[in-house]
């Protein structure tokens, strides 16, 4: 029996069940529990007023509290286990938020001395109350990455992020030179049991000779095996440095339809050749097969069968810990392949195009950020010699086949009719330019909102120069038009990014509590819009969001910290999206971008809130930088 005061089990037990108190050791928790003062506030009662001195870290024990910045603007709503008051303690300044009891509320208030002591003694506790949400978000992205690498080190099927060098079993590489006789090269390959022979010309990798080259270019046509290798090799092969992640190599191979990849060391010396089979054996996934099957499909049905496996492949990639950016690039690669193959098949049927043209795609596919369930957004840019009356019938049919094929393959018809089947999107370069000019020169809010995806464009097939030329002209004109830029910035800032979560709901700025989080519309699109606005303002040719952010930072348009934070936020929200889609696929549901906030883990909720806050801040900045704050 002692006469010393004891901890109140209900208090310490409650704290122990909630972050960040769960991180404290027994002695630290006892110290904090004893520093608790319990208060009760009736619904509507003020707890702290903005501008007042605050002496406590407050934790909601039961009930709910609303924070309003400066007493007016809704900042957040807090439920059981949530805490507030720490920013003013850390700053040792007055409270910036007004705290009001939203319901009858029982509050634990922890004296500032105990709060500072716990922060000093416990790093996890300190980190949790970091007031810099960008830093928190970056740590979350790092933690996810570390978790992936941890899994990769343990798991045997994994290693999408492992370097190519981990696939290389032996490092001596036999090689030939361009003058080597085909017969001699084949003998070396047979002796060494390799299917690929690098061909060196002095210090330069001139080509590779593969089994397939021997079959197709030597044996089948009956070529004299005494001829030099240079005549039948695959010249100027794509290579990869040995520290390239396996997945990145896979994407290159899927994209270029190649099956062998010479691996070089940092000095450019070939140390090995890896085959697609080596990678597939490692990944154990059908990821590359889909690309192959799409590229070799003989009709729309075969192609649709191949793309139908995409959801499973995505779930597999998520499961093996592939990051969001690579997954999006992979999904985009398949999408691109589907467009190309369908055009090839259509051209084979309809005959070659009468004039040069380019297939241009818009939106997420153009940005290489496609997810599952995207619809198609495409158009044709007609090249030299196009005469509508003579040639358009051909392109109309071509577009119809492409569009129908895409729809069959899961890329639904565009509800906004942004498809080459629409005559408005089969235009000559000059007509396209005029179309863009009308948006830029006389901007209207509604037209701008509907036109933004056109500024994300990429050639998928045909004359890429037509697209590049158009982009250059359009972006040049956009950069020089402040009024247009202000409209674009306003359109971006129109998105209402949520404030965060309250209980199992999404909290919006107007105090609405929604039960659906649209990850695409409410978190991903605003970052895409931000990046696009900076790209337009600086005539940045990149289309990919991460690349645009980097380029905007280099151009001085975007603060480097902001660029880095937005990139981390972009990665995080897309990661949440792909994990969510993988879960839906596993549950046999169609993948979507909408999720129930109740299904989010506490980790995801906390960091999504950080991401929301960061995006809102950058949208505000965009508004003041480009739209003169007049909104």
């Amino acid at each position: 029996m002692t006469e010393q005061p004891i901890e109140i089990d209900e208090v310490s037990g409650f704290l122990r069940r909630h972050e960040p108190f769960a991180y404290l050791d027994d002695a630290q928790l006892a110290l904090v529990s004893r520093a608790v003062e319990v208060s009760y506030f009736r619904r509507g009662a003020p707890i702290v007023r903005a501008g007042d001195e605050n002496r406590y870290l407050s934790v909601v024990r039961s009930g709910a509290v609303e924070l309003r910045l400066g007493g007016t603007e809704l900042n957040s709503r807090l439920g059981e286990g949530d805490s507030f008051g720490y920013p003013s303690l850390i700053r040792s300044g007055p409270a910036q938020n007004e705290a009001v009891a939203l319901e009858d509320t029982l509050l634990y208030r922890i004296g500032k001395e105990a709060f500072h002591r716990a922060r000093a003694e416990n790093a996890a506790f300190r980190t949790f109350y970091d007031t810099d949400e960008a830093a928190r978000l970056r740590r979350a992205v790092d933690a996810m990455r570390a978790a992936r690498e941890g899994e990769a080190a343990v798991g045997d099927t994994l290693g999408a992020h492992a370097p190519l060098s981990s696939l290389v079993r032996r490092r001596e590489v036999v090689s030939g030179s361009p003058g080597t006789a085909i017969r001699e090269a084949a003998r070396i390959m047979a002796e060494q049991d390799v299917s690929t022979l690098p061909v060196w010309d002095g210090g330069r990798l001139a080509g590779i000779l593969t089994d397939k080259d021997l079959r197709r270019r030597v044996l089948a046509p009956g070529l004299d095996p005494g001829r030099p290798v240079a005549e039948v090799m695959t010249p100027d092969p794509v290579t990869a440095v040995e520290d390239t992640p396996i997945l990145a190599a896979l994407l290159v191979m899927a994209d270029r339809h190649i099956h062998h990849l010479p691996v070089t060391d940092a000095g450019g010396k070939v140390v090995a050749v890896v085959s697609s089979n080596d990678i597939l054996a490692r990944l154990g996934s059908n990821a590359l097969h889909i690309a192959k099957e799409v590229a070799s499909a003989t009709d729309g049905k075969e192609l649709a069968r191949a793309t139908a496996q995409l959801p499973q492949a995505l779930a597999g990639l998520v499961g093996t810990g592939v990051d969001a950016d690579h997954i999006a690039r992979y999904v985009s690669t398949i999408g691109e392949g589907a467009h190309r193959r369908l055009l090839e098949l259509a051209e084979a049927e309809l005959g070659p195009p009468p004039v040069p043209y380019a297939l241009v795609c818009f939106g997420s596919l153009a940005r290489a950020e496609q997810a599952l369930g995207s619809d198609q957004d495409n158009g044709f840019i007609m090249g030299e010699g196009f005469e509508r009356t003579r040639h358009d019938a051909y392109f109309e049919q071509l577009a119809q086949r492409l569009s129908d094929g895409l729809d069959g393959a899961g890329y639904r018809y565009c509800p906004g009719n942004i498809m080459a089947t629409n005559p408005a999107y089969r235009r000559t370069a000059a007509e396209w330019e005029a179309h863009f000019r009308s948006w830029i020169d006389s901007p209207e809010p509604q037209a701008i909102l509907e036109s933004t995806i056109f500024f994300d464009m990429r050639a998928l097939a045909g004359e890429a120069a037509l697209v590049d030329g158009l982009r250059q002209t359009v972006f040049g004109a956009a950069r020089d038009n402040r009024i247009f830029l202000s409209f674009i910035a306003r359109a971006a800032a129109v998105t209402r990014v949520p404030l965060g979560f309250f209980r199992n709901f999404l909290l919006q700025h107007d105090a609405d509590e929604g039960d659906v989080l649209d990850l695409k519309g409410q978190a991903i699109a605003p970052i895409v819009d931000l990046a696009r606005t900076h790209a337009l303002a600086n005539a940045i040719p990149a289309t990919n969001t991460q690349e645009r952010l980097r380029a905007a930072s280099e151009a001085g348009s975007l603060d480097p910290d902001a660029a880095r934070d937005l990139a981390a936020g972009f990665e995080f929200v897309r990661e949440v999206r792909f994990r969510h889609q993988a879960d839906q696929i596993a549950a046999g549901q169609p993948p979507s971008n909408k999720l129930d906030p109740a299904s989010l883990s506490r980790f995801d909720r906390e960091h999504l809130r950080d991401a929301f806050r960061l995006i809102r801040r950058q949208l505000d900045k965009l508004r003041s930088d480009f739209a003169g704050g007049l909104m």
Partner: protein
């Protein structure tokens, strides 16, 4: 102090009891005095108390445990909680073992009544005790003091059960004034019952909720006290 007022009558009972208290812990308790009934509520030092007992008969049943939680300035203090275990003279009834989860092991650090009571009185001295259905706590403490010191126990009790029916009169179910029921009505969290400290905390929180919902300005101690 107004002649004939509630405080005057209480002060007389308090002084009379002090006169018959023998020198020692109970005398010391009375010498600490009591708060004036006109003191604003926020300035009153209170202590929520819950006794776990072996039965409901003050004279026959034994106190097993006292749970205490201090309150000051209208707040419950996390650094002023205390548990004092009493060792009953006889064996524990099976029922109280089950209800209070008090086992022989827990009794190892329990004190005989004559040692436990002085500790408890020391913590109550000068403060306003708060209990839910305070007649029980008042009755048991009085019986214990009479047993050990041959003198009565007088304190200005606040009873949250009585306060509820006085401040918020309405028709209720038979068990409508039970602690857990009332707490739920104030949206206070559900606790595990029959632990002295937890029950004292539960009662202290209920008092804070009642005061907040009463919404009156300038409440004084007299408004709260058991009638």
């Amino acid at each position: 102090m107004i002649f004939g007022s509630r405080e005057w009558r209480f002060a007389r009972r308090f002084a009379k009891a002090a006169q018959v208290a023998p020198a020692g812990p109970l005398r010391a308790y009375y010498e600490a005095g009591h708060a004036h009934f006109s003191t604003p509520v926020e300035a009153v030092e209170m202590i929520a108390i819950d006794l776990e007992t072996d039965g409901l008969d003050f004279a026959e049943s034994a106190i097993l445990e006292a749970g205490l939680v201090g309150m000051s300035a209208g707040r419950i203090r996390g650094d002023a909680a205390l548990r004092i275990r009493f060792r009953p003279a006889g064996a524990l009834s099976e029922r109280s073992v089950v209800v209070h989860r008090i086992t022989d092991d827990a009794l190892a650090d329990a004190l005989p009544e004559e040692e436990a009571l002085p500790l408890l009185l020391g913590h109550l001295a000068g403060k306003v005790p708060v209990a839910h259905f305070a007649d029980i706590e008042a009755g048991f403490l009085d019986a214990a003091c009479r047993r050990v010191y041959g003198a009565p126990f007088v304190a200005p009790f606040v009873c949250t059960m009585q306060l509820e029916s006085r401040w918020f009169p309405r028709t209720r179910a038979a068990d409508g004034l039970r602690l857990a029921k009332l707490r739920a009505g104030y949206r206070l969290p559900a606790y595990r019952a029959h632990d002295g400290v937890t029950d004292a905390l539960a009662c202290a929180e209920l008092l804070l909720a009642q005061i907040a919902h009463r919404g009156a300005r300038e409440l004084v101690l007299d408004d709260l006290l058991r009638r």
